[in-house]
């Protein structure tokens, strides 16, 4: 199955090398979003792009066995819930919605700026997984539109 889906061997090898760098750079952009340029939105889109590169190179079946569309939707909702929870906990502790209830810390330190890092992680999950899921849905639809290919049985 591995041989017949996706692109050629060259693309697959380069994807294998690049995918780790992409994910690590996305995580760096998210975690250092309050110190250097970046944040949850570009980091989330970058992580979604890493998964999309994997999908384009290896075909949909291989990637969906790792993280399916349903799982991506669930992670997306969990990210939204995490972001909402930060706001609600701030409401109960400080009396204001999105009150910064954690310590401020030292500037230029990664554990500074209180709740911003948690909100960034929530936004990353939300943006990244929702865009990946919408790409999967569009890819499936496109294939159905162009040619009604015979459906593969099982794996």
């Amino acid at each position: 199955m591995d041989k017949h889906t996706g692109m050629t061997l060259i693309v697959k090898m380069i994807t294998q090398v690049m995918i780790g760098f992409l994910l690590v750079f996305g995580a760096y952009i998210v975690l250092y979003g309050h110190i250097t340029p970046g944040g949850g939105f570009p980091g989330g889109v970058m992580i979604a792009l890493a998964y999309i590169l994997l999908t384009l190179a290896y075909g949909r079946k291989v990637v969906e066995s790792k993280i399916s569309g349903v799982a991506a939707s669930i992670v997306d909702d969990l990210g939204a819930l995490l972001f909402w929870l930060v706001g609600i906990i701030g409401l109960y502790i400080g009396g204001r919605y999105f009150y910064n209830f954690l310590g401020k810390g030292e500037p230029f330190n990664i554990f500074s700026a209180g709740t911003i890092i948690i909100s960034n992680i929530g936004i990353t999950l939300k943006v990244g997984m929702s865009l990946y899921a919408i790409f999967l849905a569009l890819a499936i639809l496109q294939r159905v539109v162009t040619e009604e290919e015979p459906k593969e049985e099982g794996e």
């Binding site: 340029p37 970046g38 939204a80 500037p107 909100s119 960034n120 790409f135």
Partner: protein, 187 residues
């Protein structure tokens, strides 16, 4: 000063790219031309002192190129045009756009001149941001602390649009074996 000249040149190139986008007949070329416009926009953001947005624009541009190419790659690739009726509506639209541009020329005099923004609210963020939030990236401190409620609203908008796309793309009863949202863990 050479900064301003670069901005003008890039904007003129963006307009040329946009005109190519809407007038070329091959749809794949149109999509790639709009990608070029987006990348020039990100270079402009870099010159305007907004590295956050430059990063976001580059990455989002790649993803939107992928989505648009998925939309146009396999279907009929040529723009649809009929000559005889299009000339009339062309002229009327061009006249209206000219009128709007003249009004815009007078309206832009009411704005603060370029290079001297009125920072009544932002001055507060810049002065109090470091001791109240502790983040050294002030854009992030505005997004996620001072105006986190706005960001939450925008996350809701994103959620709504993605849910709408799912509702449109999902398969109904007849073809449910291809359904992506249906939970089938049996096989």
């Amino acid at each position: 000063m050479e900064n301003l000249i670069i901005l003008h040149i890039l904007l003129v190139f963006m307009i040329i790219g946009a005109i190519i986008t809407i007038e070329i007949r091959n749809m794949l070329s149109a999509v790639i031309a709009v990608g070029a416009v987006g990348f020039m926009l990100s270079v402009q953001f870099l010159f305007l002192g907004a590295p956050d947005i430059a990063i976001t624009q580059v990455i989002v541009e790649i993803l939107s190129l992928i989505i648009l190419i998925r939309a146009t790659i396999n279907v009929d690739n040529v723009a649809i045009e009929r000559k005889e009726e299009i000339i009339f509506s062309n002229r009327i639209t061009l006249i209206f756009i000219g009128v709007i541009l003249i009004f815009a020329w007078t309206a832009f005099h009411a704005l603060p001149t370029f290079g001297e923004p009125s920072m009544r609210v932002s001055q507060f963020y810049l002065i109090h941001g470091l001791q109240e939030v502790g983040a050294t990236n002030f854009v992030t401190s505005v997004i996620l602390d001072f105006r986190a409620y706005d960001t939450f609203g925008e996350a809701v908008v994103l959620f709504t649009s993605i849910s709408g796309a799912f509702a449109i793309l999902r398969r109904w009863k007849k073809e449910q074996h291809k359904d992506f949202l249906r939970i089938d863990r049996e096989h």
